[in-house]
Amino acid sequence: MEDSVPMSAIVTLSDVKKDYPLGKLTVRALKGIDLTISTGEFTTIAGPSGSGKTTLLNLVGCVDVATEGVVTVAGQETGKLSDRELTKLRLHKLGFIFQSFNLIPVLDMFQNVEFPLLLQGGMTKAERHKRVRDIVDRVGLTDQLRQRPNELSGGQRQRVAIARALVTKPQIVLADEPTANLDSATGSSIIDLMKEMNEQDQTTFIFSTHDPHVMERAGRIVKLVDGLVVAG
């Protein structure tokens, strides 16, 4: 495990609780999380299934809101934001890497990476294309620019997802088990790539995993058990 460099807080959770209705019952997925993540950290959220990893990432990713407590992301208290403001926050400050890649199947690789920039607007076509080519070059997929997701391997798809997450130069990248659908060699190369991006751009990475080999590459490990932080 590597030492984390103390920097300013980019994510804070204060006594965060999250309930989900389950039929007539209510299940408490998070039971009072206090957590601070600093800019530039390469943090993994670890824990067994049902420990609340995904719920925690959902709250930090502004795709869900806490039942109680305060979640602050990039200086903004997410519980006080409207849907439009949350969408804007996700678009400009966050990047997502999904376990199942979640690329848009009808767009080619280049268009998938370019898509968030099109949503953001404000760039010329030339600027946009340069940004896409640069990031595609960094993830090593220059030769697959016009291939559709179904023409790429799992590892290549996840590289596209990383490129898509990073193309907007977000402050935080969230990834839920990004290596779960990949073989160990490919998974390892994906973590290497994420680590490289983290070190070069000082982008904060928060990702969940079960894999001990992946865990040991993280700068910080936050362990969750039954909706509570038990270590990290």
């Binding site: 959902n58 795709v63 969408t87 997502f96 969230l174 990834a175 969940s208």
Partner: protein, 446 residues
């Protein structure tokens, strides 16, 4: 918007079976609408052609002359002056003629029928010669030759008559046969004259069932009328759409010239006799009408067809709209994860809504364009083939013995726009639902 369009088009292509099925249904309904509209326009076209050839100008200056309070005749007593006024005041007129009107019985050796008489000067009637086509002998006579007998020019000779094929069948006469005309003069005496059939025209629907054409002199003799009289001064315009405006203008001019005008009634001249005979005046009153007034009793055909078309299309559109809505709901459900991903990476709700709407609009525009153009091609083909209408009843309704369809580009464009808009409207609910999807739906694995 460009990327949303690309996503929409590619999603349609990706779901090609579903797109093809929905598109085919939409194209078929558009095709049907175009065919029905073209048929309706064809009937209207027939109506204008047959009305303006057989019984009316685009604008008519006719009138009634009452010898006593209870007795009237469809006569204009000073036709030359009216023609002069029309020539001076209607610059859009391409042609002006005058026709006498009458009513009586045509008698042959084996039958008789009632008919409206039109007294014409053939040399003054270029449209009549152009529109009225002569029938082959086989069309009105069993075992007749498959060729046209007779000649329209014979109508310039006194004592001649042109009748139509269905009349020739009923009277069992052919070209060269004699007919006797009996009628009542303006003074109430019966008068009779013998005429020879010089030509037999092809039926032109309802109007040709009771119209026969005689030289003007024959009508003058038959009714004992002065040469300066006529039944109606008929004005043919360059633009028939100007009929109403021209009539209104002429009314003002004729009143200023001292003529007394009847109030405008949008009915043919023969439907006015009862009212005129009940009014307490004598002498001359002019009556101005348009071609639409003169065939107003026939507009039920177009109205009826349009009403049936409207309900038929409305039902089909409803079914299609439900189909589109269901299909789009399924499409949105299948793409929940994709839409959730788009929302998660920062796509605003309104763009999600547009993405689904664009998909529906593209499908609607392509399918309705294909359907409309195929419908237009089909209509043009049917019209060019001059398909014979076998049933007499249908001929009466269609006002023609062949299927006549008129494709109007504006109607094609309207059909495309309307069906595209309907597709968009039907997709509003699924598009709205898609836009309300939470990004967390894509995060089941994050």
């Amino acid at each position: 918007m460009g990327i949303l369009f690309q996503i929409a088009v590619r999603n349609l292509i990706a779901a090609k079976r579903r797109s093809a099925m929905l598109g085919s249904a939409l194209a078929a309904v558009t095709l049907l609408l175009v065919v029905l509209l073209s048929l309706s326009q064809g009937i209207t076209d027939n109506m204008i052609r047959s009305a303006t050839a057989l019984s009316s100008g685009h604008v008519n200056v006719a009138g009634f002359f009452k010898m006593s309070a209870t007795q009237s005749a469809p006569i204009v007593s000073d036709a030359p002056r009216i023609r002069e006024i029309v020539k001076e005041n209607v610059p859009g007129a391409v042609h002006v003629n005058a026709r006498h009107r009458g009513w009586g019985k045509l008698v042959s050796e084996s039958g008789s029928l009632q008919a409206g008489f039109n007294g014409i000067v053939l040399a003054e009637e270029p449209l009549f010669s152009e529109v009225v086509q002569l029938a082959k002998e086989s069309e009105y006579k069993e075992g007749g030759r498959d060729e046209v007998i007779g000649d329209l020019s014979g109508l310039s000779q006194p004592g001649s008559v042109l009748i139509f094929a269905s009349q020739a069948k009923r009277l069992e006469v052919g070209v060269g046969d004699a007919l006797t005309i009996t009628t009542e003069t303006l003074r109430g005496n019966r008068n009779t004259t013998d005429v020879t059939v010089v030509a037999i025209g092809r039926d032109m629907g309802f109007l040709s069932n009771w119209s026969v054409f005689l030289p003007r002199e024959t009508i003058l003799d038959l009714y004992g009328l002065k040469p300066e009289t006529t039944g109606s001064v008929q004005i043919f315009l360059e633009d028939e759409a100007q009929s109403e405006a021209t009539m209104a203008h002429l009314r003002g001019v004729l009143e200023a010239e001292g003529f007394i005008l009847m109030e405008h009634q949008a009915v043919p001249f023969w439907a006015k006799f009862e009212n005129v005979n009940n009014e307490d005046w004598t002498g001359q009153k002019l009556d101005l009408t348009t071609w639409e007034d003169e065939v107003s009793y026939l507009t039920w055909v177009v109205r009826g067809l349009d009403t049936i078309s409207f309900f038929l299309i409305a039902i089909l559109v409803f079914i299609i709209a439900v189909g589109i809505m269901n299909t789009m709901v399924i499409s949105v459900r299948e793409r929940t994860r994709e839409i959730g991903t788009l929302r998660a990476v920062g796509m605003p709700r309104v763009k999600v809504l547009w993405m689904i709407l664009i998909e529906a609009l593209v499908l609607g525009a392509v399918a309705s364009s294909v359907g409309a153009l195929a419908g237009a091609a089909l209509c043009l083909g049917i019209d060019a083939a001059a398909v014979e209408v076998p049933s007499d009843a249908v001929r009466v309704i269609l006002l023609s013995d062949t299927l006549h369809l008129v494709v109007v580009p504006r109607q094609i464009a309207t059909a495309i726009v309307v069906f595209t808009a309907i597709t968009g409207l039907a997709s509003l609910v699924p598009a709205f639902r898609a836009s309300r999807l939470q990004p967390i739906t894509a995060m089941q694995s994050i």
